[in-house]
């Protein structure tokens, strides 16, 4: 535990505004101070820049695909190019945006702040994680520039090992190396949460954001190595013709699928659990009320982390897996849905008798709860064997996972960015424009992906460059939605950059929220806290005196 260290007490801030005080932004200037930093807050911002670049690249591929699908006979690009587009869209979005997004940006920035630590347990390892991410990114960008890969982000063998003549090896190495950046972040979080909590910060006084990141780190640490070795075997088989997955040499493609999905299903929980953590914070902050059933939501995160490893077979119901195994995976997949349902019910119950304000972060949070519910329920439908046979590998699946990834993870990521942006930059962003972009995202998203549920049940297979004419109407609707969604995602990029320079000063706690990260200044000093915090109460205690009088001078936002 952090006993009160003898380090010289930092001078408590005087009346001058946040920017004259020493904080992590003005502590040092110049490229070297950023590229060699060990401050978890600066590394969080470095990650923000890297993953935004990949989000832009992935979105570009997605939009080209949606344009291509406007017409039944593919007119925009050749089939081979389309195959590379959807593959690179999958690889960039899954490995380079969704998995690192919330843990590496918001998690890096907030985990030490929320538990009252000066920094993560291994700062140099944290910086190494960013450099390893970029090294992997270089391999993948090189592959993209030189023509990309056409195997699908799932790299199914024997196509990826013996029939594809694209840059599979360099993309595989890119994903292999970037996997280590994820492992380093997960390792850092586990040790920090275990060993470096502020005095008085017991496990059940931890904010739910920390619980969800702890569960995510457990999945990262236990799952990522398995895809690392699988990807390595695919690369080895292409280079050395080993035949581990090549049916002609006795190998078995189904073994590849088992190894691949053993990581890739827990990977979707790596993407959604941090988002759930963000939503717990947003709902508590904007309803100004502790989360209903705190312990159940905390244990639900851990239950998802553990059960998430038992269910991967539901990706292989029709792939030649035995009926016996299919039945076992189906019942286990049903069980893993229960903790998610518990979370959604608890968030909704938190709103009861709360004092709800409709700032932008809350709009994203409420949007998340609705869309995640629909995404989760369609997931349980897919776990039902009878339905999955018909809708497997169709657009129903595409719609399901986009409801979870875009409707869930990205909405929560945007909500989190909007909520903690004043803490990161000390600035505010335009209120009306941000609410507009939230609405655009919600409407555009539903218009893009709900028609795909119908397309899926009609039987339109996924990854098709050309499709029968009767599916065109729904595809045109989907592309229209995609353009609205594109605008909705682009707006925050502009007004966040604008607000860095011209945004109104936000003060230390613009939302009047409770939490260790809000007890310190915005932007926080490099050492995070002027006086080391001692924790005496639970995470979301809005019903206390000193919280009350701080409220009085809080300015309401436009």
């Amino acid at each position: 535990m952090n006993t009160h260290a003898a380090a010289e007490p930092l001078v408590t801030p005087g009346p001058e505004t946040a920017f004259e005080r020493p904080n992590y932004l003005n502590a040092a200037y110049g490229l070297r101070s950023w590229l060699l930093t060990r401050d978890h807050k600066r590394i969080g911002i470095l990650y923000l820049i890297s993953i935004s670049v990949f989000f832009a690249i992935g979105s570009l591929f997605a939009f080209l695909m949606r344009l291509e699908l406007l017409t039944p006979e593919g007119d925009l690009v050749q089939p081979d190019t389309y195959n590379r587009l959807f593959t690179m869209h999958g690889v960039t979005m899954v490995f380079f945006f969704l998995i690192p997004s919330i843990p590496a940006v918001l998690g890096n920035f907030l985990v030490p702040l929320m538990i009252g630590a000066r920094d993560l347990a291994f700062p140099k390892l944290n910086l190494a994680s960013w450099y390893v991410y970029n090294l992997g990114a270089i391999f993948t960008l090189w592959a993209i520039v030189n023509g990309g890969v056409d195997t699908g982000w799932t790299f199914y063998t024997p196509f990826s090992t013996s029939f594809s003549n694209t840059h599979v090896v360099s993309t595989a190495l890119g994903v292999f190396i970037t996997g280590f950046s994820s492992i380093f972040t997960g390792l850092n979080f586990i040790v920090t949460i275990h060993r470096m909590r502020a005095p008085g910060m017991t496990w059940f006084r931890l904010p739910l954001f920390i619980w969800s990141h702890y569960a995510t780190s457990v999945i990262i640490v236990l799952g990522t190595p398995v895809i690392a070795i699988t990807i390595l075997m695919v690369a080895a088989e292409r280079l050395l013709h080993l035949g581990i997955f090549d049916p002609k040499l006795g190998g078995d493609p189904i073994l590849f699928q088992h190894l691949f999905w053993f990581y890739s299903h827990p990977a979707v929980y790596i993407m959604i659990l941090p988002a759930m953590g963000v939503i717990s914070e947003l709902v508590a902050a904007f309803a100004r009320k502790p989360i209903f059933g705190y312990k159940f939501v905390a244990f639900a995160s851990m239950a998802i982390a553990v059960l998430g490893f038992l269910v991967w077979g539901h990706h292989m119901f029709v792939s030649g897996q035995s009926i016996y195994a299919g039945t076992v995976f189906s019942i286990l997949s049903m069980l893993v849905a229960i903790p998610s349902a518990v979370k959604v019910f608890n968030w909704t119950a938190t709103l009861y008798e709360g004092s709800i304000s409709y700032q932008t972060p809350m709009l994203y949070a409420l949007g998340f709860i609705g869309l995640f519910t629909l995404g989760g329920l369609t997931g349980v439908m897919l776990a039902t064997l009878g339905i999955d046979v018909h809708v497997h590998d169709t657009y129903f699946i595409v719609a399901h996972f986009h409801y979870i990834m875009v409707g869930g993870a990205i909405m929560a990521y945007l909500g989190g960015m909007h909520y903690w942006w004043p803490k990161i930059s000390g600035r505010l962003y335009p209120g009306f424009l941000s609410k507009l972009s939230a609405l655009l995202v919600f409407v555009g998203f539903n218009l893009t992906f709900f028609p795909q549920f119908i397309l899926g049940y009609l039987g339109m297979p996924r990854r098709y460059w050309a499709y029968p004419p009767e599916f065109q109407v729904l595809n045109v609707l989907s592309t229209a939605g995609a353009s609205i969604l594109g605008v909705g995602f682009a707006l925050p990029l502009f007004y966040f950059i604008w607000s860095m320079r011209y945004g109104k000063r936000s003060g230390d706690n613009p939302w009047g929220a409770v939490g260790l990260e809000w007890d310190t200044t915005s932007p926080p000093p490099t050492e995070n806290f002027y006086t080391m915090p001692v924790v005496t109460h639970g995470p979301y205690e809005y019903n206390r005196e000193e919280v009350h009088n701080r409220m009085t001078e809080e300015k309401t936002l436009g």
Binding site: G74, P79, D80, N83, D150, T151, G152, Y156, P158, F159, P247, K248, R288, K289, F292, Y294, K295, F317, V318, I323, T327, S330, I331, M334, L335, A337, A341, V342, F345, T348, L351, Y352, S355, I356, S357, I369, G370, T373, L377, V380, M381, A383, T384, G386, I387, V389, H390, H392, D393, L458, G459, P461, R463, E470, G538, Y540, Y542, T552, E554, T556
Partner: protein, 354 residues
């Protein structure tokens, strides 16, 4: 599209109705819970909106009964749906006894389909209505997936192994056939149609079409051509060496293996024994059989297996002749230690590659 219901696929197989009912039930449940949550959120947003900046929400409260309720109720719903879904799944993957076996071989970007009567088609499959059809699938290169949306069935064709699915058309018509597992450049071109026809029109089509030899007949012909019968013969009194187990009545029976285990002589076992004879050697026999890897194509393999099946349980055709002896031929009197001469390669005439 289904003429009656807009945006709903046609139901043209016996199992389609069950899948649709299951799907609609789940959709109703999902819609109910989504609207419940969305409705609660909208109501709470209106009812508990913040009146003045200093307002704070109520004190923390947890209700154990509520937590148990919204854990157990979803659990019960999912268990019921699991049982129902699994029953439909078993119905899709357990063919009835009277199913006729067709064969589908996926090859990069075409479906090669073969009727039991020997008729071969590419990307189109004519089937009689009202007759359960068991489809045996395999692939020659990458993983493909045989998907007929109107029949609600889908099954991956995996290279190196047989997988199977069955369906029974209920309505004549032309239905889409897709490849659902991504298989490379022309994945979206690997489509076709399944044409369900009234039984007598199917017979006419069959007769009209190029009536190729039946699978069993071409299998028997291959059995001779590849000199399989030089070893696999019932013991007869001509004193010729018997070095391979006679195959009549073998299909589906329990076979005693040299390595001590037993195996069911099913399609996979026969396929493996032709391509990789030493994997499972029958007890009491020397491993002298050469491999036919690379000498027989997928279709010829299925024809050979169809022929061996036709030898099952006594309806031995002319080729087998001899008594339906015990499943593995008698050893020679010296206790089976035939010093088998170096296995002279059977040197079969090179069957023309497909």
């Amino acid at each position: 599209m289904n003429p009656e219901l807009p945006f709903f696929p046609e139901a043209a197989s016996t199992v389609a109705g069950d899948v649709d009912v299951l799907f609609i039930t789940w959709s109703v449940i999902s819609a109910f819970f989504t609207l419940l949550i969305a409705g609660l959120i909208v109501y709470f947003m209106a009812r508990y909106r913040r009146r003045h900046p200093e307002e704070v929400g109520a004190r923390e409260r947890t209700a154990l009964w509520l937590e148990v309720a919204w854990s157990v109720i979803p659990l019960l719903i999912t268990l019921v749906m699991f049982v129902w879904g699994t029953r439909v799944y078993f119905k899709i993957y357990r063919p009835p006894a009277d199913a006729i076996e067709y064969t589908a071989v996926g090859k990069q970007w075409m479906w090669k389909l073969q009727h039991p009567e020997g008729q071969r088609e590419i990307n189109t499959l004519h089937i009689p209505v009202g007759q359960p059809i068991k489809l045996k699938l395999t692939s020659e290169d990458v993983i493909h997936s045989f998907f007929v949306p109107a029949f609600r069935v889908k099954q991956d064709a995996v290279p190196g192994r047989y997988t199977s699915v069955w369906f029974e058309a209920t309505k004549p018509g032309v239905y889409h056939l897709f490849c659902a597992e991504y298989c490379g450049g022309e994945h979206s071109r690997m489509v076709g149609s399944v044409i369900a026809m009234e039984p007598q029109r199917y017979e006419e089509w069959l007769a009209g079409g190029a009536g190729g030899k039946s699978m069993v007949a071409s299998g028997a012909e291959l059995f001779q051509q590849l000199a399989c019968d030089t070893c696999h013969r019932a013991a007869d009194n001509t004193g010729r060496l018997v070095r391979g187990p006679a195959l009549d009545g073998v299909y589906g029976s329990e076979v005693q293996l040299a390595s001590g285990g037993t195996a069911v002589a099913d399609d996979n076992y026969l396929r493996e024994s032709i391509l990789n004879p030493n994997a499972k050697i029958v007890a009491g026999w020397q491993p002298v059989m050469p491999t036919f890897q690379g000498q027989v194509s997928e279709e010829q393999l299925t024809q050979l297996i169809a022929y061996v099946r036709s030898l099952g349980a006594g309806e031995g055709t002319a080729a087998a002749g001899g008594t339906g002896g015990p499943s593995h031929g008698p050893l020679d009197s010296a206790g089976g230690q035939i010093d088998s001469p170096a296995p002279q390669t059977a040197g079969p005439a090179k069957p023309e590659q497909q």
